[in-house]
Every structure is written in C-alpha cells, then in structure tokens.
C-alpha cells in the first residue's frame, strides 16, 4: 500500500472514535432536537407535529423573556467584570512580587471548587443577617442588602460569587502575559514610556487574542448558568434568578414538555451563534494578531 494511502487510513482509524461519537452524540441529537422543536412531545411518548406552534408560544411566553433577560443581565456583568478582574490580578502577579506562588494559589483556589459545594458556601456567605458579606459591611457601618432574598440583589449576588472565582482565568492571562516579549517593554522604557502607556499600548493589545478566546468561551459558559440557581434560589425570589437553562430544565425535565424545551434550546443556540459571529466579525477592530505585530 502506498505510504500516503496508509497514512490516510490510519488517520481515519485514529480519528474515528471522535467522529463516530460526534455523529451519534452531536449530529443526530442536533437534528433530532431541531425536529422535536416543531412537535409536541409529552408522556406517554406521543409525538405530534405542530409546526411553529412552540415558537409562537415562546414569543408570547413571559418566562421566556424573563429568563432571557436574567441570563443576559448576568452575562453582561459577570463576563466583562470577570475578565477585567482576572487581567488585573494576572498583571499584578506578573510583576516581581515576593511570595508570588502563595498569592497565585490563593487567587486560584476559589475556582478549584465548583458546583454544589461552592453554592452551599455562598448561600451562607450571602445570608442577610448572619452572613460574611453583610457582617463585613456592618463593620464599615453599611447596611448590606438582602442579597438572595431581594429580587433586585439576587443577580448581583451571583455575579459577586462568580467574581470570586475569576482566579480560574487568571492563569490563562498569566500565560498570555508571559508570551509578551520583554524587549517590547525595554524598548518602550528607553523611549521614555511610563507604566500606563506600557499597559495600554503594549500589554493590552498583545493580550487581545487571549481575551478574545476567553471572552467567547466565558459568554457561552455564563449563558448556561444553572447549578447556582438550582441549588441556591430555585429561580427566585420573584423569578429574578430564573435563568434560561433553569427554565429549559423545568420545561424539559419537570413538566416534560420536551418539544417546547427543544425549541428553547434552539433559540439559545441561535442567540449564542449570532453573538459568536458578531464577535468574530468585529474582532478585526480590536484583536491584534501575530502577523500584524511583526
């Protein structure tokens, strides 16, 4: 057998575990859920084609709008703030600091636990009367809000909690920072640049590819927020933490309206896709690539 043909054969063989799985667990489900979104599917197992009815109902559904709003609100604040926090921490840690590994560990630690454990912890941290945050605020003579008991403060509470875990991304930015060649900074110093200048004109632009990737993945991730709401608030108070995926879960796995839930899933997909495309399209404006620097 010709060697290139052999190479191709092995190429296919080695990639097949992924490919088969991809077709089985991604392609089929995506197509199936698309079809399902046009059907009514409830127990016991009756599938009825109903055309655009699910989508029409979704448009009229106040919970759809509310859950979308809640999710957008959360994403809009937690992602930029999280990225900014991670970058700031990464920059400070990148400077010559004594005990950098201790600090690095401390800042990264909150990202190490997740899911139910961290939700339970923050349930007590956020308690309005006896929780850590309001206690500290009271020492500063500030009356802390009711956090998870107040519809206006429940999302900010969860955003605060996500900021606490922003150390997880800090490592990625540390890596990105260390990619920036020292010479650039040295050259700038020689030219008389101050730190501020160095940050805005060297550090930040060269970090933009990392930021870009991180931004997309963070947005996709925060759109899917579920566990915190499920464990800590159940969607309340007053549905203020009814996030999109929580609502989808309720529709799909509690009311078992699987057609409707599939339609919800597809709308989520389209929104995320559009956002990603917009980000990619506008990336040329602000993301610096290697080629340009050269």
């Amino acid at each position: 057998m010709k060697s290139s043909k052999r190479e191709e054969l092995y190429g296919y063989i080695f990639v097949s575990p992924w490919l088969i799985g991809y077709i089985l667990f991604i392609v089929f489900p995506v197509v199936y859920s698309f079809i399902l979104s046009f059907c009514k599917y409830t127990l016991p197992f009756t599938v009825k084609f109903i055309g655009l009815l699910n989508y029409k109902e979704i448009i009229r559904d106040p919970f759809f709008r509310l859950s979308l709003y809640n999710t957008l609100y959360y994403t809009l604040f937690s992602v930029p703030l999280g990225i900014a926090t991670s970058i700031v921490i990464a920059i400070i840690l990148n400077m010559r600091v004594k005990g950098v590994s201790v600090f690095r560990t401390i800042y990264y630690m909150p990202a190490v636990i997740s899911g139910v454990a961290v939700s339970l912890l923050w349930l007590v941290v956020l308690d309005p009367s006896y929780g850590l945050i309001n206690y500290i605020l009271s020492l500063l003579h500030i009356r802390g809000p009711l956090w998870l008991q107040d519809p206006k403060w429940s999302k900010p509470a969860l955003i605060l909690m996500s900021l606490w875990q922003s150390g997880g991304n800090m490592i990625i930015y540390l890596a990105g920072l260390q990619q920036i060649p020292e010479q650039l900074y040295e050259a700038a110093t020689i030219d008389g640049a101050n730190n501020w200048f160095k940050f805005w004109k060297i550090t930040l632009p060269l970090l933009t590819p990392t930021i870009f990737l991180n931004l997309i993945l963070s947005i996709i991730g925060s759109f899917q927020i579920f566990t915190q709401a499920y464990v800590m608030t159940g969607g309340g108070p007053l549905n203020s933490t009814l996030f999109y995926v929580l609502y989808l879960y309720q529709k799909g796995f509690q009311s078992f309206e699987m057609g409707y839930a599939s339609a919800l899933a597809w709308i989520l997909f389209i929104i995320v896709l559009m956002l990603t495309i917009i980000l990619f399209r506008t990336s040329w404006r602000w993301v610096y690539y290697e080629a340009e620097v050269k």
């Binding site: 127990l43 308690d127 309005p128 009367s129 009356r143 107040d150 796995f253 078992f256």
Partner: protein, 432 residues
C-alpha cells in the same frame, strides 16, 4: 497497540459492571415519605417481616425527596424503569390516575375486605372516576399551633385560643420581634408552613368558604371575593411581620417553631414530633383550628399504589396489604405522627395518641370537620407557576390581590381549557 487494546477493554469491562441487573424477585418500592425514624422502621421492621413471610422476595426501598418525586417517576416511566410500588403524596393522585401511572386496585380491594374499616373520606380521595388508584396510608393536615410560654412572657393570657383571623393577625403583630439592626429575632406568626404559600392560601381560602376550582373543573374559583379577601389577609400580615426589605428568619438545625423563634405557626401533625424532640422542656404548646366563615380542616390523604409498569402486581399487592394491615398501619402512623386512615370509632383508645393532646385534637377534628384536599388537574403548573407568581406579586405589592388572582384565573382557565380539549376531565369525572 496491545496496551491500548487492553486498557480499552478494561474500560469497557468496568463500564459493563455498572449494568444494574437484579436476580431474585425484587419489588422496587419508592417512597416520597420518610424521616430517619420511618426509614428505620421500613428497613428494620416492615420490610424484613415481609421478606420473611415471602421467601425469595426482596424489597428494595428508595426514598426520593419530595421536590424530585414527580420528575423521577416521569423519567423512570419514560425509560421503562418504573418501580413496582410508589408511596406518594396528596396532590399526586390526579396525575397518577390521568397519566396512567397507577394501576386500578378495585378487584384487589374487593377481595381484601378491609374497605369498610377505613374512613370513607380517605377512600374518596383515592378514587377517581369510580376507580380506586391507591390505598390510603396516612392522613396529614394543618392547624394552628402556638407557644403558650411565649404568650405568657409577652403578657398575653396563655389561655387565649387564636381562632379568628383578626385575632391571629393582632397576636402575630404583638409577638413579632426585631433587633435594632432589623434582624428578625422572633416571628409572630407564620401561616404559610415553610413558605408553601399556595397550600397556606388553600387552607385559609377554605376557611373563608372559598374554593379553588369548580367541581366540574370548568373554571377557577380562587379569584372569588373569598379568595381576594384571603389573599389580602395574607398580604397584610406578610408585609407587617416580614416586609421584603428586612431579612427573613434563617433556618437552623433546630426547627424554628420548636426553638421558640416563631410564636404562632401553621403546623402539621408530623411537626409534633419535632416539638417533642427539640423544644425546651419549659415550652407549652396549644393548638387552634382557625376559621372565618366555615370550620374546616383539610385532610391530606397519602397513599400507595402499584405502577402500571410493574411486572409483579400480585406480589406488590401482597406488600401493600401487609403495609396497610391494622397493626402495621398503626405503627407507621404513630412513628410518623400522622392520622391513621383507619376508623377509630367514638373514642381514641391508643395510649400513644392519648398522651399527646395535640395529636388527639387532630384526630378528633379530622373526624368532625375534615374535608378532603381538593383534586386539581395539572396542579404543578397551577401551584409552581400561576398561583405562586400571583401570590408573590401580591405579597411584593406588584399587583393588588384582586388583580393578581384575576390574572391567575385567566391563565389557569386557559390551561383548563386545553386539558378539557385533551379529554382529561372525562377520565376524572368518569363521564362522557
């Protein structure tokens, strides 16, 4: 290549080990009810005794937390892995009948002969369209309990029985205590039984001679004047005692009512066991049956059924018969502190119950003024969405009670209309 092969096979073998397959005849028994004492009783008394009497049979008990019972059952039915026997709650009976989860037991019960020994009201709840879907195991209820010791401390006559709505509100206000930071030290009155506002609303609605839904399920009745009045009462009390801008009472390992952190509390008979376990000895508790236009107490009948997917219905029935026998039912209800659905005649002679005046009161009133808990199709949607949001909107003053209930009634009526179109009511009413 070889090493990969071996590690792959190892993975596959490990995965195959997780194929749950049973061997001997196993009855899978899911229960939404339980407590550490009840779980112990099931595992150490009821099940071993049954297994002894039926060699070769194993009973596998699984306790499913309330919030997830419906989900788990639906998922199991969808996957074809439903258990044999399910011990579920009051409201589920309607779904169990309509969605074909429970198997009608009329033939079994006829042969059993114990039908007449149960309170008729209990069977009424478990019978839909002439078919009996469950055997009643225990009856719960709601009543107002109050801490006489706190009354005394606050200068209120401990013999006051808070029965009238205005009385309850007044006492609640007087006994509500906050510190200077606004933290709640003692809640004067909690009428919503651990924040299940809907059930609290139903209870007081019926006291006000209101109804939730028309008997033929044609429309909602909770938006009547009685309903609006009831909700207004709740809204006033809630905003007086626990306004949303002040922190709520946190829950600790010791239930708040037993710890004296709540003065007046809508409680269940099961709650009496908490009082015995946790309340300081010097606390004295009283019980009252509030009313406005009619004296009622709701009977939350809980029963056990055989699933339609069970492959061993006869054996499952044997277990149910055993569980519902006179002795076992008495032991269960005394361990769980609930009302035994078997008739007890004119007087209670069970010493366990007799020594507990609070429990005796429940038994007596259940017989005297007990009304069945209403059957509500699609109650999940009503309670977890429509009515819950309406009550929340009213409590947080986003809408007036009248607006909230009207809005809810409109939505609920639309939902009922859909159910009618699917022919659900014909099944329930047994008519065409």
């Amino acid at each position: 290549m070889k090493k990969v092969y071996w590690s792959m096979s190892l993975i596959v073998i490990l995965l195959l080990i997780f194929d749950g397959t049973g061997r001997a005849v196993t009855l899978r028994f899911w229960t939404g009810h339980g407590s550490p004492d009840i779980d112990k009783w099931f595992d150490e008394v009821l099940i071993p005794q049954f297994e002894q009497a039926h060699p070769g049979v194993k009973v596998e008990r699984l306790r499913v937390p309330w919030g997830e019972l419906n989900e788990k059952i639906m998922t199991a039915f969808a996957a074809g892995t439903a258990p044999d026997i399910v011990f579920s709650g009051t409201e589920q009976i309607i779904d169990e009948a309509i969605k074909g989860l429970a198997r009608p037991l009329n033939d079994y019960i006829k042969k059993w002969g114990e039908y007449k020994n149960f309170i008729p009201m209990a069977w009424k709840h478990e019978t839909i369209g002439g078919k009996i879907y469950r055997v009643p195991i225990h009856i719960s209820s709601r009543a107002l309990m109050y801490n006489k010791t706190i009354f005394k401390q606050a200068g209120i006559n401990p013999n006051t029985i808070p029965e009238k709505w205005e009385q309850i509100a007044e006492l609640g206000k007087k006994l509500n205590l906050r510190d200077d930071k606004g933290n709640l030290i003692r809640l004067g009155a909690d009428l919503w039984y651990t924040h299940q506002f809907c059930q609290g609303f139903y209870y007081f609605l019926y006291q006000n001679k209101g109804k939730i839904i028309a008997d033929d399920f044609s429309k909602s009745l909770f938006n009547s004047e009685a309903g609006v009045e009831t909700l207004q009462y709740f809204v006033n009390l809630f905003n007086e005692l626990t306004p949303p801008n002040l922190p709520a009472l946190p829950s600790g390992p010791i239930p708040n009512f037993a710890a004296g952190k709540i003065a007046i509390y809508v409680n269940t008979p099961q709650g009496i066991s908490d009082l015995e376990k946790y309340a300081p000895k010097e606390f004295e508790f009283g019980i009252a049956f509030p009313f406005r236009k009619s004296r009622i107490i709701q009977l939350y009948v809980n029963g056990i059924y055989i699933t339609t997917q069970s492959k061993n219905p006869d054996l499952a029935w044997e277990f149910i018969k055993f569980f519902a026998s006179s002795d076992n039912l008495r032991e269960f209800n005394n361990t769980y502190f609930t009302i035994n659905p078997r008739k007890f005649g004119a007087k209670i002679d069970d010493p366990f119950i007799k020594q507990r005046p609070l429990l005796v009161a429940f038994y007596e009133q259940a017989q005297k003024i007990g009304i069945p808990y209403p059957i509500i199709p699609n109650y999940g949607t009503l309670q977890n969405r429509i009515l819950k949001d309406a009550i929340d909107a009213a409590l947080y003053k986003k809408m007036t009670p009248k607006q909230a209930l009207e809005d809810a009634a409109k939505k609920w009526d639309a939902s009922l209309e859909e159910l009618r179109k699917e022919g659900v009511f014909e099944k329930i009413l047994g008519t065409k």
